[in-house]
């Protein structure tokens, strides 16, 4: 067994219990430190940004696909186009401005995406399981994911379940290509940013190396490196130093549970 480096200061045995959603939110929030403008949908990314605003990154801004910027919702939004996002927002942009000027103009530092499948360089499938023409399961499709991938300076992917169904050697359908896949397919088409830099899962965190390959950089408490490798559908490379995720602090959990999502809309 490859032993993980324990970087956590606090003894693990005395920590408060927390759910997988809370852990993923807190880990995502910490990774947002130093980032300025985040493009994120509803769900865990929204919670992560809200937590960052209340803790480590008070100046961080969230842009929604519905065109809302600087939202100050009186209640947690249920969709990216919730009425509460619009009321009291700093700006609501039209769609050509949002996609054309904000995304394509390069204003987004971090784009958050989810996916049904991810490959070793961070290409994402949100379209279909099985062949496109004869689908086994039809998924929602791109939405704005292709644009977020092409235009953000880096992309964080949150996947609640790290397993071989999601972490595949070959995607059934490449909806949103990694930077590497984009350059290989169309080298003369302009690209921006790093593509997927970080993947946050229920087992740990993968980080892209210099070539864009996703490598294991940290594991959550109680998770072994071998366990993550076994749950990954390609030979998962390891970063030189693999840390153990620092558990959510009592204050982080309090903010999430009492201030941000008291009715547990997303903290399922």
């Amino acid at each position: 067994m490859i032993s993980a480096t324990q970087t956590d200061d606090t003894p693990t045995s005395t920590q408060a219990t927390f759910t997988a959603s809370e852990l993923l939110t807190v880990v995502s929030c910490r990774l947002l430190q130093g980032k300025r403008r985040v493009f994120a949908g509803i769900g865990l990314p929204t919670l992560a940004v809200a937590l960052a605003q209340k803790s480590s990154s008070p100046d961080i801004e969230q842009v929604y696909e519905s065109g809302v910027c600087g939202a100050h919702p009186p209640r947690l939004p249920e969709t990216i186009a919730d009425a509460s996002l619009a009321t009291g927002a700093e700006a609501i942009l039209t769609m050509p401005v949002l996609f054309g000027y904000v995304l394509q103009g390069g204003w987004i530092d971090v784009g958050f995406l989810g996916a049904a499948q991810i490959d070793r360089f961070g290409s994402l499938n949100t379209s279909v399981i099985g062949p496109w023409e004869e689908p086994i399961v039809r998924l929602p499709g791109s939405g704005g994911a292709v644009e977020v991938m092409s235009n953000s300076h880096e992309v964080f992917v949150v996947l609640r379940r790290h397993n071989r169904t999601s972490f595949v050697n070959e995607l059934d359908f490449c909806t949103s290509p990694s930077l590497r896949a984009a350059r290989l397919a169309a080298p003369k088409v302009p690209t921006r940013g790093l593509g997927v830099s970080t993947v946050i899962t229920d087992l740990g965190v993968l980080t892209a190396d210099d070539t864009g390959e996703l490598c294991l950089s940290s594991v959550h408490e109680g998770v072994t490196v071998e366990q993550v490798q076994a749950a990954t559908g390609w030979p998962l490379k390891l970063m030189d130093q693999i840390t153990v995720t620092k558990a959510p602090t009592a204050e982080e959990l309090r903010l999430l549970r009492e201030d941000i999502d008291p009715t547990r809309v997303y903290l399922r």
């Binding site: 509803i42 769900g43 696909e65 519905s66 065109g67 809302v68 249920e78 969709t79 990216i80 186009a81 919730d82 009425a83 996002l85 619009a86 009321t87 009291g88 609501i92 039209t94 769609m95 050509p96 996609f99 054309g100 995304l103 394509q104 290409s123 379209s127 496109w132 023409e133 004869e134 689908p135 086994i136 399961v137 039809r138 929602p140 499709g141 791109s142 939405g143 704005g144 994911a145 292709v146 644009e147 092409s150 235009n151 359908f173 490449c174 909806t175 949103s176 290509p177 990694s178 896949a181 984009a182 350059r183 290989l184 397919a185 169309a186 003369k188 088409v189 302009p190 690209t191 921006r192």
Partner: protein
């Protein structure tokens, strides 16, 4: 200007023809549900439905057999479920009763923009390496006419036969005012050959003219304007009523079972007389808990002659 006011029945009967390419737009906000229901009520057939984000209304139209082709970018019932009627159709593969044409959000929006602008294509910074370009011949890569070094993906114009949008208010000439999340309504209205606008209320000209910057679509683009209060239910109209999230949550159970879906369409659409009948069936007081508290904008000063 002449009045373009029409009833929902007449607007759909006159402007939506079997076989048409019909765009129903609204990005979660202001989805023209009442118009979609009226299309079902009038048994329109062989429609190509264009919608950036097919949601429950697409599930209902497909479930009712109105649709032969779906042009889209994201299909789903936000975070609470799936569109089972649409999925049943598509997952039938080669036996599917509907054809699909798939884009990303900006790809389809750019098609509306090209269509509205009368230009042969619109370039966007997407699709390099995406399999969407493999399965959709409308996504093409071209060289830059200005240098030898770069290429870009383009999409062609889309000019629907009819665009149907919902908004908060309009005058009788069809000057449409909307606020909150705006979606692709302006782009699709300009791109379409005919535009039907359904509004929460038709107001006097003075109201519209008190705030001309609020007009997203000028009357000359609109062919029919229909007053239909709560016509976006179960979606929402900013300042008028909130999203009926309970209905969205309940949809999966209906849509998953073809018999339940058929029954729902019969009961809530065919057995109700126009949108008024649907509202009557929802019952008095239904919208009370969905009505938001007022949050008024500060009026701006446009100035006037001395």
């Amino acid at each position: 200007m002449t009045s373009k006011e029409a009833t929902l029945h007449d607007a759909i009967a006159e402007f939506v023809v079997d076989g048409d390419v019909v765009a129903l737009e609204g990005f979660t906000h202001l989805i023209p549900f009442a118009a979609g229901h009226e299309i079902i009520r009038q048994h329109k057939r062989e429609l190509t439905l264009v919608r950036m984000t097919p949601d429950i209304i697409a599930d209902q139209l497909v479930g009712a057999g109105c649709v032969s082709k779906l042009i889209f970018a994201f299909m789903g019932n936000s975070s609470v479920g799936s569109l089972y009627a649409v999925r049943r159709a598509i997952e039938a593969g080669s036996g599917s009763p509907i054809e699909i044409e798939e884009y990303s959000h900006y790809g389809l929006l750019a098609r509306y923009q090209a269509g509205a602008s009368g230009i042969p294509f619109m370039p966007i910074r997407s699709y390099a390496g995406s399999a969407l370009a493999d399965i959709n011949p409308n996504i093409k890569k071209i060289p830059s006419p200005f240098d030898d070094e770069s290429e870009i993906y383009v999409v062609p114009p889309l000019n629907p036969d009819v665009a149907i949008i919902h908004a908060q208010r309009a005058d009788r000439s069809g000057n449409i005012q909307s606020w909150g999340i705006l979606g692709p309504q302006q782009e699709v209205a300009f791109a379409a050959r005919k535009t039907i606008a359904i509004v929460e209320e038709i107001v006097d000209d003075d109201v519209i003219r008190s705030d001309p910057n609020r007009t997203i679509v000028p009357g000359f683009v609109v062919d029919a304007v229909v007053e239909s209060k709560y016509g976006a239910h179960p979606s929402f109209a900013q300042g008028y009523y909130d999203r009926d999230n309970d209905f969205y949550r309940s949809w999966s159970a209906i849509s998953r079972d073809p018999e339940a879906l058929k029954q729902w369409i019969q009961e809530w659409i065919h057995d109700t007389e126009e949108h008024a009948g649907y509202l009557e069936k929802l019952g008095k007081g239904y919208f009370e808990p969905l009505t938001p508290l007022p949050h008024m904008s500060t009026p701006v000063n446009y100035g006037s002659v001395r």
